[in-house]
Amino acid sequence: MAEAKKSDKSAVITEQVMLRYDYALGEVAGRFMAGLKDGKILATHCSKSGLTYLPPRSYCERSFEKCDGWVEAGLEGVIETSTIVVRGFEGKRKPPVAIAFVRLDGTDSAIGNYVDGLDLSDYEAAMKKIAPGKRVRVQFADAREGRITDFSFVCIE
């Protein structure tokens, strides 16, 4: 559906495009999501490189071999980096929200998620609480649907 509109300076044709995609979960994402429902965070491990990955991968990018093991990640970890999103956008949580990439104990890569339980009225103070190096723990939602938002991070006091 397109209609031409006249504005003061020049004409515009407006169109909204709908493109639908079916994304296959693939070899590992399904198991990770199922693990979330069980209150677990599952990572994959490559015995050749010795690396343990979150989010889990089906193959190791370092060794270029298939990952050959599953590991339950610890439910605490360290913040590698963080930010407070002040200008967000549609379809996500209303800003301001805090995001952190956390390396959970027993893994070698950081996974991102929201940080809950922060007073975001003072950005500087909040950022100090989630500065690189601070430890956090995983908090699972009561109702889980097999989606990354089934858990979030909270600061360890």
Binding site: A2, I13, E15, V17, M18, L19, R20, Y21, D22, Y23, A24, L25, G26, E27, A29, S58, Y59, E61, R62, F64
Partner: protein, 367 residues
């Protein structure tokens, strides 16, 4: 500077590869090509990808795709025209001395989205989009134009489709679609006149990777045995317009063909023992056969082409893999006897706006 193909791999063809994410398909195929070539990812100094964001469902698809395809600490570049176009750029990179061992990869999950919607999105918003022009209409206009130019009848187009399915049925790398009868093809409903749905190659999911090596690399690694020598590559794109003159002239196809053969030192199709055409319909095959002067039926698309598998964005690069296998004597049940030289063709855009032709010859040289 000479360029060789050291290994090829194609992903198992399917109508819908729902078990695997696109990244996983790419990893398996890249890994298979490297293993077939007897080299590791670490040895690569270039990666050339051919992929389409709109078909992949991401605005910068190579962000998630380049590492699975072997791009880790590597010089990587992506072209968007077609899988076969990626091979052209890679070829230029090698001739420029910029790479000694490289991977060329392309993929397409036709089942992932409505391909025709994506094709329609390629229409300019003012003159083309409102008419819903996409692949079906583009191919129909092409069929009409070359029908008039060359006197191609519906019966010929249908005969070619049936024969292509018959060849494809023997291809161990293809879908083994059932071979239709001419009657059933002629009775199928129209998608857009004169094209009937059954005259168009069905879409599939797939991926393909080729490992290229320079003569410098081969001299330093004598345990590596090349499958084929890349003798020439030509590509060109036509006007975006869909008028009769543009469609009938097949100018970019002729330019690509002429350029590739010239580089390979060849005079005509008679010098080629196999030509893998990208014929999305029977009309396409009828047109290319005449434009390229392919007279020997036995040289024509031994693999079955798009009727064997058709992950549409990379069908041309799959043709390249098939041509390499022919020259190397490794094409299996569809192998033609004594293939010294084989050409691969790919097309892309509305009504084959763009064309690619690549000529391969036996690695040891051809008498």
């Amino acid at each position: 500077m000479s360029v060789y193909v050291l290994g090829v791999a194609t992903h198992p063809a399917s109508l819908s590869e729902s078990r695997l994410r696109l990244e996983e398909m790419a990893y398996h195929t890249a890994r298979a090509a490297l293993d077939a070539a007897g080299v590791t990812r670490r040895q690569l100094d270039s990666l050339t990808l051919g992929a389409c964001d709109e078909l992949d469902g991401r605005p910068i698809s190579s962000m998630l795709m380049s590492a699975p395809a072997g791009g880790y600490g590597t010089d990587e570049i992506k072209v968007t025209d077609s899988g076969a176009s990626a091979l052209c750029l890679a070829y230029a990179r090698f001739l420029a001395g910029e790479s000694q061992l490289g991977l060329v990869m392309s993929w397409c999950k036709s089942s992932k989205t409505d391909v025709e919607t994506v094709m329609r999105l390629r229409g300019d918003p003012f003159y083309t989009r409102p008419l819903g022009i996409g692949a079906a209409i583009g191919d129909a206009l092409f069929a009409q134009a070359i029908g008039e130019e060359f006197g191609v009848t519906e019966n010929e187009a249908t005969r070619r489709v049936v024969n292509a399915y018959a060849r494809a049925a023997r291809n161990p790398r293809g879908m083994a679609h059932p071979v239709p009868t001419a009657e059933s093809v002629n009775a199928a409903s129209f998608d857009a006149l004169p094209l009937r749905s059954a005259q168009r190659a069905p879409l599939t999911d797939g991926a393909v990777a080729l490992v290229l090596a320079s003569d410098v690399f081969l001299n330093a690694n004598p345990y590596c045995t090349p499958l084929a020598h890349v003798a020439g590559a030509g590509w060109a794109s036509d006007s975006y317009r869909l008028d009769s003159a543009r469609l009938r002239s097949m100018s970019s196809a002729r330019t690509a063909w002429r350029t590739a053969l010239q580089q390979a030192g060849l005079q005509s199709a008679a010098d080629l023992d196999a030509v893998e055409l990208e014929s999305q319909t029977g009309y396409h095959e009828a047109a290319y056969v005449r434009a390229f002067g392919i007279e020997r039926e036995e040289a024509l698309s031994p693999s079955g082409g798009a009727f064997a598998q058709n992950p549409i964005f990379c069908t041309g690069l799959i043709n390249a893999a098939e041509a390499v296998l022919q020259v190397a004597g490794q094409a299996g049940a569809v192998q033609r006897p004594n293939v010294r030289r084989a050409a691969a063709h790919g097309c892309h855009g509305y009504a084959q706006q763009g064309n690619v032709v690549i000529v391969f010859e036996r690695a040891g040289g051809v008498q």
